[in-house]
Symmetry: C2
Subunit: 303 residues, 2 copies
């Protein structure tokens, strides 16, 4: 048992929040967890499966007396929720979030945070293609990174406590500034998702290759893309709308490189292709050595 906060409130009960709840329970990280979701259906599901010690019908009720309040709603909804709960936050409490974009969230949320409350944005780098209150599981954050992105003037004690909280949920932690966070994530997560969505869309459009063939013969490569492209549409819409600048910059570089490879194919430049494909192998090796993935055959899947 490693209790870090007495009372925690989860605002939003999707994949991340529900996984946080089960991870808190596993290690006794919080004394009491209150939860709130905007949809009555989600709240009913949460009550049915025992997600949260108390499920509240309003966000204001959920954050009452909470020592840690976690905003786990789509990035585009953070500002509005912060405005609603701001006046009801307990003095001395910490407000954090789990959004995939940090600059915009800080801009949207910070104005609504009272001076008596510590605002410490964060982003756990973990997920699956599933969403909703029933998709969470206790081990989601184990050995994954959680990036803590303190806003200007964040209290060091509050930052350290939030770091200890994420460590107690199983994560490694690191501190990063908002601009750099948004660029790193554009490269490692946001652009890959957009590209996967696009490729799956192309396959869907192509009438000569019928849907059933695309599905039936989906080989490694495309199969991975469809998994990525099955992620929550609302979450990803908000990510691209709020991390516009970095995403568009990386996409620009991507198309530039893709055109170079396309030209090499057209011109039959096998040496360029071979050199390029050899270089990308080294990055893969690094990821396996860093323990962020497994080298198991068949893409580590059971079949």
């Amino acid at each position: 048992m490693t209790q870090i906060y007495d009372r925690v409130a989860l605002i939003g009960l999707g994949l991340i929040a529900s996984s946080m709840f089960w991870a808190m329970k596993r290690n006794g990280v919080a004394g009491h967890v209150a939860g709130y979701a905007r949809s009555a259906e989600t709240r009913d599901t949460a009550r049915r499966i025992g997600l949260c010690d108390t499920v509240c019908d309003t966000a204001i009720e959920a954050v009452k007396d909470a020592d840690l309040v976690v905003l786990a709603v789509p990035v585009g909804a953070m500002g509005q929720v912060a405005q609603e709960i701001g006046p009801h936050l307990k003095p001395g409490a910490t407000l954090t979030d789990v959004g995939s974009v940090k600059k915009q969230v800080i801009e949207d949320v910070a104005p609504h945070v009272p001076d008596t409350v510590h605002f410490v944005p964060a982003h756990p780098l973990a997920g699956t293609e599933h969403s909703g209150p029933e998709s969470g599981f206790a081990t989601l954050f184990d050995n994954r990174w959680c990036l803590i992105v303190p806003s200007e003037g964040s209290d060091q004690g509050a930052v350290d406590q939030l770091g200890n909280y994420w460590k107690a949920l199983g994560s490694h932690i690191d501190v990063m500034d908002p601009d750099h966070h948004d660029l790193v994530l554009a490269v490692t997560s946001h652009c890959p998702h957009l590209i996967a969505y696009t490729m799956v869309g192309v396959a869907d459009d192509l009438r000569r290759v019928t849907d059933s063939e695309v599905i039936k013969y989906s080989a490694a490569g495309f199969r991975d893309f469809t998994r990525i492209a099955a992620s929550d549409p609302t979450m990803w819409r908000d990510v691209f709308l709020t991390n516009k600048e970095a995403t568009l910059e990386i996409l620009g570089r991507f198309t530039e490189e893709l055109f170079a490879l396309q030209r090499a194919i057209r011109q039959g430049d096998g040496e360029l292709l071979h050199d390029y494909f050899t270089r990308t192998r080294a990055i893969r090796r690094g990821i396996i050595e860093a323990g962020q993935d497994t080298a198991a055959p068949n893409f580590g899947r059971s079949r």
Copy 2:
């Protein structure tokens, strides 16, 4: 025990051929398997790990008396190997291949096949990002598809026997014509691979996001891309050079769609993005229902 051929020869001893060997041994699909690889190092490894009943020092020696000869070399090397072994194939034997491209392979190989030999091209849709004689395993083809792509005038008995052979290795089989095969594969495999290589290359180029950060914080999405982009460079170079037409066509459609999504991001058109991302989920569901992937959380990986 389901013996389909008495003597089988594997030309090339990489991931596919070595997996074929272990799958043949598992189910007693062949009486005797001879193997050949161009590099002495690969032949030594094969002898050391017991890959093939006999490892031969020349391709000609390996195909002698074989009832089935499997070309399992990069697509760009098929023609040359066929030219070398053609005159030494046993009358009545079947010659097949496992190449990811079919039109070009048929063009390159067919002229070297004697009239007394049945040439039946095929393509097992299975793989991992690993390569070499030690990467094979017996279950690689289980529940995967193998596409049989008969060339003009292929003998029906030979086609049926090769189908039974792949079923004995664990695969489902289907028959397809070469043009359609190359288009379907451009969509489901070749373009996704090129795109993954490109995105990993972009990350590698971007000096502001240091290599270690890309590796350390590689989230779902990018991590899947690096796995795809770790595949054998020679094999993939040959795929793009020999399936040029279909690949370039699909890439053209891909960049067109990507530009549309890019414009939606720039203009803040959340509705277009949300609709697009919702549509792609259906394809994913279809793949899971078709049994070609698992719905396990965390991308089906052990961690």
